[in-house]
Symmetry: none
Subunit: 186 residues, 4 copies
DNA sequence: TATGAATGAGGTTTCATTCAT
DNA sequence: TATGAATGAAACCTCATTCAT
C-alpha cells in the first residue's frame, strides 16, 4: 500500500527536480532570456542531453518553474488563512526569499504555451475580488481589470523593494494593505 | 545666422531617425530581445553596417527609443496641463497608439547603462507625488514607493487593456483616476 | 532428439525477429540514414538497450534486413522455377509488397562490412548470365557488367513504378522481359 | 557596355563558386548525407557562417551541385552532336572525371525541393526516346518507363566501372551502345 | 558616411552508446 | 536478458560585429 513508484521512477523525478531547481537559480541570476540550457544543466550537475529527457525547451522549464512558484505563493497565502492582511504578509515573505526569481519570471514575456506568472496571479486575485464585491466589502469594479491593477501595484513595489536591498518587508506589507484597502474598499 | 548644419550632418540625423523608427517598429513586433540588428536596418532600409555608425549596440537603440517614448508621453501630459485627469487621458492616448512598443519596452530588462522606461516614469511620478504631498492633496507616503505603485498599476492595466483589444480607453482612464484618487488622496 | 533450444534462446530469437521487422518498417518510412535506433526499438516495442544485445549498430541491422529481403526474393524466384519470365514476375511480386523497403535499401550506400542489396543481386544475376552464355541463349558479354546493367534496369524501373503508384505490375514485368530479352539474347 | 557587375558582386559570386566546388569535392568523398557544412566551408576555406549567406541548407547546395553536373553532362552531349554514339562517349567522359561525385549524387535521396540527378536525366532521355519513336528508329515503348530503364542501365554500369577502377571507358561505352541499341531499336 | 559580405563564437538539439538496475 | 535514464560529441544555425570598398 506504499506509493508504488519504482526506484528508477524516483531517480528520474529527482533529476527533474534538480533541473527545476537549477533553472530557478539560473533564471534568478541572468533572467529567463539570458539563461542557456548549458548553464542550467551545469548548475544541476547533469549532462546536457539530460535536459531534453525532461523538457522540450527552455519555455517549458520556465513555465514549470513559474507554476512551482505560483503554487508556493498560493500555498503560503492559503496557509495564512483569510484576509488581505495575512495574504500580503505571506506574499512578501516568499518575495523576500525569491526576489531574483520573481523578478526574472515577472518580466518574462512568457510563451505561446504558458501564461506565466501573470495569468495565474490575475486569476487568483480576480477570484478574491469577486468575493469581495459580492460580500460588499469592495467597491464594484471589473474584477479582472482590478486584479491587473493590484498585480501591477504589488509586483512593481515588491521588485522595487527587493532591488533596493531593503529588508523591512513589514513596512512594504503595511503600505500595500493600506493602499489596496484605500483603493478598493467600499 | 541660421543654424548652420551641413548637408552631411542633416543626412546623418535623418538616417538616425530612420533607425530609431525602424527599431520602434521591430521592437513592437518581436520584442527587444527578439529584435536583430539586421531586422532593424532592413526595416530602416539602410545598410547593415550603417547601424554601427549611429549606435554601439541594441541596448543603446532600445534606450534611445525608450527615451523618445518617455519624451512623447511627457510632452503629452505637459501639454494636457495640470491635474491627474488630463495626464491620465494623455497617457492612455499614447498607449492606445503605441501599445506594442510600450509592451516591449516595459517588459524589457533594460541594460546596465539605461534604466529604460521604468526609471524615467518613476522619477516623473515621484516628483508629482512630492508636490501632491506638499500641497496636502495626497496622503503622506514614501514618494518613490508610491510612484512604483502607481507605475505598476497603470502599466499592468494599460497593457491588459491593449492586449485584450479593447479600445474604449476612456473607460480605462476613468478607472485609473478613480482608483488612484482613492488610493492616495489625503 | 528434437531440436533442444531452451526457452531463453527462443525468446532471444523472437526479439531479434521483432527488431528486424521493426527496422524494415522504419527503413521503409524514413530511409536507412533517417532511421534512429530509438525509432526501431519503439516500433519493435522493445527497450532501447535491447537493440545492442542483438546488433552492434545500424549498419548491422540494415545488412541483416537486406539479407532477408534478398533471401525472400531469391526464394520467390527459385520457387518460380527456371526462366526469366517466371523470375521477373516473382521479383515484381515482392517489389509490389515491399516497395518502400526496397527503395530504402537500394539507395542505401551500404557499409564497409556489407555489400547491401546490390552485391547480392549482381552475384545472382551474373550466375544466371554465365549459364545463359554457356547454353548459347545469351549474347556473349562480360557477365558482371551485364549483371549490373540488368540490375540497374530492373531497379530503376521498379522503383519508378512503385513511386508513381501504378499497380499493374504485369505491365512492368512484360516490359522488363521484352527489353531484357532484346538486349541480351543471342 | 561591359557586364555591369560591381566588384562586390563578382566577389560574392566567386565565393559561391568556391562553396559549390568544395561541396562537390566533399560529396564525392563522404556522400551527401555524410557531408557536414563545416567540412564544406573548411574545404572552401571560408568561414562557417558564410555558407548560410549563399545557401539555406545542405539540400540546397546538393541541388545546385547536381544542377551543375547535369548541365555539364548536357553540354557535353550537346557538343558531341546527334547520335547515341557520341552522347554515350560524352557521358562516359564526364563520368570518368567525376565518378565519385556522380556516385554520391546518384545515390542521394534528393530533397522535397529538388528532383536531383534522376529527374533531370530521365527528362532528357525521355525526350530523346520520343524523338526516336516518332522517327521510327525506336521500338514503341512508354518513353518515361524506357528512360528510367536506360538511366538505370547506364548509371549502374558506369558506377560499377568507376568503382572497379577500370579506365577503358571506351569498352564500357561500346557495351552501352550495343546493349541499348539491341534493347530499344525498332 | 554608407555598405553588405564575411566571420566565428555561442546557442540549440539530436542520437548512438553505456551502464546500473 | 531486458530496460531506459543519462551522457556528451557532433551537427546545425543565428547573429553581433568587423572591415574592405
Amino acid at each position: 500500500m506504499t506509493a508504488t513508484v519504482s526506484r528508477g521512477e524516483r531517480r528520474k523525478a529527482e533529476t527533474r527536480r534538480r533541473l527545476l531547481g537549477a533553472a530557478a537559480q539560473v533564471f534568478g541570476e541572468v533572467g529567463v532570456d539570458g539563461a542557456t540550457i548549458a548553464a542550467i544543466t551545469e548548475q544541476a550537475d547533469v549532462g546536457l542531453g539530460t535536459f531534453y529527457l525532461h523538457f522540450d525547451d527552455k519555455d517549458e522549464v520556465a513555465a514549470a518553474v513559474a507554476d512551482d512558484l505560483v503554487a508556493r505563493i498560493a500555498a503560503a497565502t492559503d496557509d495564512a488563512g483569510a484576509g488581505i492582511h495575512a495574504a500580503t504578509r505571506a506574499v512578501c515573505a516568499v518575495a523576500a526569499d525569491e526576489a531574483a526569481l520573481l523578478h526574472a519570471l515577472y518580466r518574462w514575456h512568457g510563451s505561446a504555451r504558458s501564461g506565466g506568472l501573470r495569468a495565474a496571479f490575475v486569476e487568483r486575485i480576480a477570484r478574491g475580488m469577486k468575493r469581495g464585491i459580492k460580500t460588499g466589502l469592495m467597491r464594484k469594479e471589473d474584477p479582472t481589470l482590478a486584479a491587473h491593477a493590484v498585480l501591477g501595484l504589488y509586483a512593481e513595489t515588491i521588485l522595487y523593494w527587493a532591488s533596493s536591498g531593503r529588508d523591512d518587508w513589514d513596512t512594504l506589507a503595511a503600505f500595500l494593505e493600506r493602499t489596496t484597502a484605500a483603493a478598493f474598499s467600499a
